[in-house]
């Protein structure tokens, strides 16, 4: 076991990681960040997406020790129920959520996209979210939500 430190949602947290343990497993079991969802665990679904050092990554495909010292944002770091992030608000307003399991990953992938590209086209949004699966909504509402949030965030 090795002690590692992560700057998660603006706060340094440390915990014991086992060599070979995935970042997903470490975040959920060691740091209790259960908003990071465990989906396929093989990089096919994107439910476990977090933003690591400004880039969206699948936390199931990263080993915890590889994230030592990294800056990580999870859905909990974006907003609170009383003070929702524009993306979270747009997802609620546009009906981009049904069961909600893909939502944390979907919103973080969208946030990583908007960090690089403030006004993405619908095609660019689709490509930015192409690593995330949703089995409920059919994607259209999700794309609408990201489009609406991007307009709001960039003041268009």
């Amino acid at each position: 076991m090795q002690k590692i430190k992560i700057l998660i949602n603006g706060e340094w947290k440390s915990g014991w990681a086992r060599p070979g343990q995935t970042l997903l497993d470490f975040l959920r079991k060691e740091l209790f960040h259960t908003e990071v969802k465990r989906g396929c665990e093989r990089g096919d679904c994107g439910a476990c997406t977090v933003i690591m050092n400004d880039t969206a990554v699948d936390s199931c495909l990263i080993l915890a020790l590889q994230a030592n010292g990294a800056t990580i944002t999870t859905a909990r770091g974006l907003g609170t129920p009383d003070n929702m992030h524009p993306l979270q608000k747009a997802f609620a307003e546009k009906g981009a959520i049904q069961c909600g399991f893909c939502t944390p990953g979907m919103i973080l992938a969208a946030q990583a996209l908007l960090n690089r590209n403030q006004n993405p086209s619908r095609e660019e949004i689709k490509r930015g979210l192409s690593g995330n699966l949703c089995r409920c909504t059919g994607y259209e509402q999700i794309i609408d939500a990201v489009e609406s949030a991007s307009q709001q965030l960039s003041g268009v």
């Binding site: 070979g20 665990e41 495909l61 990263i62 192409s130």
Partner: protein, 302 residues
């Protein structure tokens, strides 16, 4: 209770080390005596480790070796560190212009999250016949510099492959340091085509990387790499020879595509489609890729 969700993590990995130089990495591999293995982006290995199917115990991570992340263009030749990610190749403007086939190929690997981590070196040593980036490197006649206990050597990318998932590069002993290939000339262009069930996050049913160089209205040098139609990515040598030195015509391209289809031996696959379908589609994908490369040289074939 809840064993499926809360099973213990893999206990087989005893250590995960982060050398800061290539020399140190080679040394750690040597000390590992076959039980230590290199890991780069980890997009394949983390799944293998979680499932417990790994047969190595010590991970030698390349993340802290800066030299492996460099992208350089010297004397019209690209030098890419083996730790360069798919996302960086995809977004690099010099590579987009000077070896477009590789940027395009890297843009098809996985989804954005995977491209942010997966590396060129990993794409090569995993030795999959359908690996998009590796296929483009075949068409670019890439050469690999490898450092191991016996020193440094440079090999052609073809020589890095032994079979499906079987690399000639031993990641428990040696490391690919750089991948080099020539930048396109003024009369050279390239294209990458992929046949697949969805537009993202899916394995290719067929993929094709083409580099075309012309002199006037003749083909000068054509490279066609095709996957997965054999145990390793395959250069369609007979089809290439049928074009080299010949005038650029529609009929000749169709003939080369036909030869490619004859030389391809795709298997029946639940994931990728039937062998006969993919063999037939080889004609289409090769034709389209050659036409797309020519189109960038302002030669339009209808």
């Amino acid at each position: 209770m809840h064993q499926h969700y809360y099973k213990d993590p893999n206990m087989k990995i005893s250590r995960h080390l982060f050398p800061e130089s290539i020399t140190e990495a080679i040394d750690l591999l040597r000390k590992g005596k076959g039980k230590a293995c290199l890991i780069a982006g980890g997009t394949d290995f983390s799944v293998e480790i979680r499932e417990g199917s790994n047969d190595f115990e010590i991970l030698i991570d390349t993340a802290k070796i800066p030299r492996l992340r460099e992208i350089e263009l010297r004397d019209n030749e690209f030098f890419l560190g083996s730790g360069v990610t798919m996302a960086r190749v995809e977004e690099n403007e010099a590579i987009q212009r000077g070896a477009g086939v590789l940027s395009q190929a890297c843009g098809w690997v996985g989804g954005p999250q995977i491209r942010a981590r997966a590396t060129l070196g990993g794409n090569i040593v995993s030795a999959q016949p359908a690996a998009d980036a590796a296929l483009a490197l075949f068409a670019l006649d890439a050469r690999l510099t490898i450092i191991g206990p016996e020193g440094k050597k440079t090999i052609q990318i073809e020589d890095a492959y032994r079979g499906v998932g079987e690399s000639a590069i031993n990641s428990r002993k040696e490391i690919i340091t750089s991948i080099r290939f020539r930048k396109h000339t003024e009369d050279e262009a390239s294209a990458f085509f992929r046949l697949m069930k969805r537009k993202a996050l899916t394995l290719p049913m067929l993929n094709c990387a083409v580099v075309v160089r012309k002199i006037g209205m003749k083909f000068d040098r054509v490279a066609i790499a095709l996957g997965p139609v054999a145990p390793i990515p395959l250069r369609m040598k007979r089809a290439e020879e049928s074009l080299n030195g010949k005038p650029i015509t529609r009929d000749l391209i169709i003939e080369a595509a036909q030869i490619s289809s004859e030389d391809a031996s795709p298997r029946d696959s639940v994931f990728r489609g039937s062998g006969s379908y993919r063999k037939a589609m080889t004609r289409v994908i090769v034709t389209d890729a050659i036409k797309a490369a020519l189109s960038q040289l302002n030669v339009e074939i209808d």
